[in-house]
Amino acid sequence: MADAGLIAIGAGIAVGITGLASAWAEKEIGSAAIGAMAENEKLFGKGLILTVIPETIVIFGMVVAILLWLNM
């Protein structure tokens, strides 16, 4: 069995960096969506949806972390 500490660090990196990545992407989309909404309030729904799209990145990270954790 691999070193538990290293696995834990790996899981942490997987979640942490993907979290940062989604945050970065969402920041860009979010500010653009707010801009679009200022022009046309009806875009709220679309803006909201577009903003959460990058959330998938961190979910992938979390899945990887969980898989690592299950192997601990």
């Binding site: 679309k46 949806i49 959460v52 959330e55």
Partner: protein, 684 residues
């Protein structure tokens, strides 16, 4: 029906004299979606508004400005009036109202302006109050120049140096001065005080001690303020008295104007008119009958074409073909429950005439996903109650949609919470080996399952935090099933639009890849996670590989090389469904943290011992407070994360497989009355 209602394109032609009656009849039928006349056709020109439009518009303009004065412009008023009544009083009441309201508003504005003026004067006077001089002493000198104003610091010494014969008065707090300087030395003096940040403030007009003037201003302010209150009250009274009439008249006139301006969308010649419209095929007989009966001989209705679902130009590029192909409007007819979900689908896009309205599919899966992510009866029941209240009280589409989501999602959350996860507020019912439970907390034995008539119904099969593997695996299958349904709907949409063969190439190919991938998943789980020894000639591999290869080849043929790039996307889509597990887990983790702080740390509960605690009542109260705040946080987060993510799974992963959207909503000529009633009905 899942598809929008079938439409017929109709042409209504008649003599121009009958135009008004035709419009009237169409408004009553509420079945015709007018196509704007494009002024390109030879011999035709745009119709002119009916004569009543200009008078009504004028009155409407007046009313709207009155509404603004009364503060009614975006307010809701309850009640309604009959239009006969509105019509009768319209002209006289508008004139009367205009006089009253304009008068009241004007006097109110005048008083407010005077109050503002007085307050400014008073502010100046308050400065002079600090000096022991009467106001008349500040002016009318032949040889003296007077400086009055604010300073920072005491300039007396500097002033005396610059202008020895000057006289300086300074307020007690040292920030206001009055300096009397001989005119010849005025420039020097000004330079000297400028260094102390002098800001000039000329003495106000008037005689006597500033104190007296301030007192007088105060008196006047008191009277003015009370008359302002009166003026505001008068306006309020007027508002209360006339609000319904104003709203009703506004609505009535708007309807008149809308009807009178309808000819602007119609082509006319000198003696005839021609109207192009969409009518639902099922309502064609009614429309024809009504027009033939009421406008016999003067107007003729002709059904031009019953629109089929098949795309006229065969292939994808239907949109790029010659421009003036009018979009066929989609009229969806959903039941009471489904229509609550319509707004969610519309938020993304309106369905096209030639595709399935996704609201039905959303109604089924959105609450299930929401429930799975929440999966806790402790939140499920409050969600249900909140949703029910929302559905009762809210009017706006947005809030109603959220309430719908909460209500149906709450039902599923309770079901999953009770039977699948067996927990309330992140705490399991029955005793657990490694965690606290309601049993241990309350000191009562709660069962692991209940038996109803020979069936053992489990209360909690999985724990969100201890059966991660199983739940993750389950969510992958939910994803595969959901996407499978998506491709099936996509197949149906494509086959009605472009034909069976096209649909097979475009959608069956992906279905094959998906099924192959699912079999491959089964194989891989055995090989990699369960650690079983499997042969490459396993039956699942033997079926999966050909399915995937053939699927890819078909997709390549249908969509070109882009299809290959979409392959990882499909895998990503499926993995994306693991968020159902991940979000449930994150909520369970938060709940565990709060519960541990509250009960184990503060109240001293030991879950190995039933009903144990070492804390006293005060600690119990503190623990309950933490419990309450913590779970309220999770509850609110659940709305945002579970609600948004279940929507997103539909919009992104699911809809991409079949939904195009971008349709035009069916908007028939019709009258919507809110503040008015029409007792006479037809003979309006």
């Amino acid at each position: 029906m899942l598809l929008p209602k079938q439409m017929t394109r109709v042409l209504i032609v008649g003599s121009r004299g009958a135009l008004k009656d035709t419009i009237e009849v169409l408004y009553q039928l509420e079945a015709a979606h007018l196509i704007d006349f494009s002024a390109e056709e030879e011999g035709f020109s745009l119709g002119a508004p009916l004569p009543e439009s200009s008078d009504a518009s004028q009155k409407l303009l007046k009313l709207r400005s009155l509404e603004k004065d009364m503060g009614l412009d975006d307010m809701d008023v309850s009640g309604s009036m009959d239009i006969a009544q509105v019509d009768k009083d319209l002209t006289s009441t508008i004139i009367e109202l205009e006089a009253e309201i304009t008068g009241a508003t004007e006097s109110k504005n005048k008083i407010s302006a005077r109050i503002g003026e007085l307050e400014a004067e008073k502010a100046v006077l308050l400065n002079f109050q600090a000096l022991p001089l009467n106001l008349e002493l500040y002016r009318d000198y032949d040889s003296l120049k007077v400086f009055t104003g604010k300073v920072r610091g005491d300039p007396t010494a500097a002033l005396k140096a610059a202008a020895p014969q000057s006289e300086v008065f300074i307020s007690d707090n040292g920030d206001f001065i009055a300096a009397f300087v001989i005119k010849a030395q005025a420039d020097e003096a000004q330079k000297a005080i400028a260094q102390f940040g002098f800001i000039e403030m000329p003495a106000p007009a008037g005689n006597g001690a500033p104190q007296q003037l301030v007192a007088r201003a105060d008196e006047e302010l008191v009277t003015l303020r009370s008359s302002l209150v009166e003026a505001v009250k008068k306006l309020e009274d007027l508002k209360d008295k006339h609000s319904i009439f104003v709203k009703a008249a506004d609505e009535h006139l708007s309807i008149i104007v809308a009807k009178a301006e309808t000819p602007l969308r119609v082509g006319t010649t000198d003696f005839t008119f021609a109207m192009d419209a969409w009518v639902p095929t099922s309502e064609m007989p009614t429309v024809e009958k009504a027009i033939n009966e009421k406008l016999a001989g003067k107007v003729h209705v002709e059904s031009l074409e019953v629109m089929s679902r098949r795309e006229a130009h065969g292939h994808h590029d239907a949109e790029q073909h010659d421009a003036p192909v009018e979009e066929i409007p989609s009229k969806t007819e959903n039941g009471k429950t489904v229509s609550k979900f319509e707004f969610m689908a519309r938020m993304l896009s309106t369905p096209k005439y030639r595709e399935i309205d996704p609201a039905v599919t959303m109604m089924i899966t959105i609450p299930i996903f929401f429930g799975l992510m929440v999966g806790d009866i402790g939140y499920g029941i409050p969600f249900m109650i909140l949703g029910l209240i929302g559905l009762k009280k809210c009017v706006s589409d947005e809030w109603r949609t959220i309430s719908t989501l909460l209500f149906f999602g709450g039902i599923w959350a309770s079901i999953f919470g009770l039977f699948m996860f067996g927990e309330a507020y992140g705490i399991h019912f029955a005793e657990q080996a490694h965690d606290m439970s309601w049993s241990s907390l309350l000191g009562v034995h709660l069962p692991h399952e209940i038996a109803i008539g020979g069936f053992e119904i489990p209360l909690g099969i999985y724990s969100k935090l201890h059966n991660v593997k199983e739940i993750l695996y389950m969510t992958l299958w939910i994803g595969i099933a959901h996407i499978f349904i998506g491709f099936c709907i996509g197949f149906y949409n494509k086959s009605i639009r472009f034909g069976f063969k096209h649909a097979v190439i475009e959608k069956i190919s992906w279905l094959m890849i998906l099924v192959g991938g699912a079999l491959l998943l089964l194989f891989l789980v055995d090989a990699m996670i369960r650690g079983l020894t499997v042969e490459l000639t396993d039956i699942r591999m033997l079926i999966a590989l050909p399915l995937i290869v053939i699927g890819i080849l078909m997709a390549y043929k249908g969509e070109g090389s882009g299809a290959i790039l979409e392959l990882p996307g499909l895998m990503g889509n499926i993995i994306s469904y693991t968020r159902l597990a991940a979000i449930g887990m994150s909520k369970a983790g938060l709940a565990l943290a709060f519960n541990t702080i509250a009960f184990e740390v503060m109240w001293g509960h030991d879950f190995h011992v039933m009903g144990s605690n070492s804390g006293d009542t005060i600690m119990l109260i503190a623990a309950l407070a933490i419990f309450l705040i913590g779970h309220l946080t999770i509850f609110v987060l659940a709305i945002i994360s579970a609600g948004l993510h279940s929507l997103r799974l539909h919009y992104v992963e699911f809809f991409m497989k079949f939904y195009e959207g971008g349709g035009v909503e069916f908007k028939p000529l019709k009258v919507i009355r809110k503040y008015t009633t029409d007792k006479n009905g037809v003979s309006e």
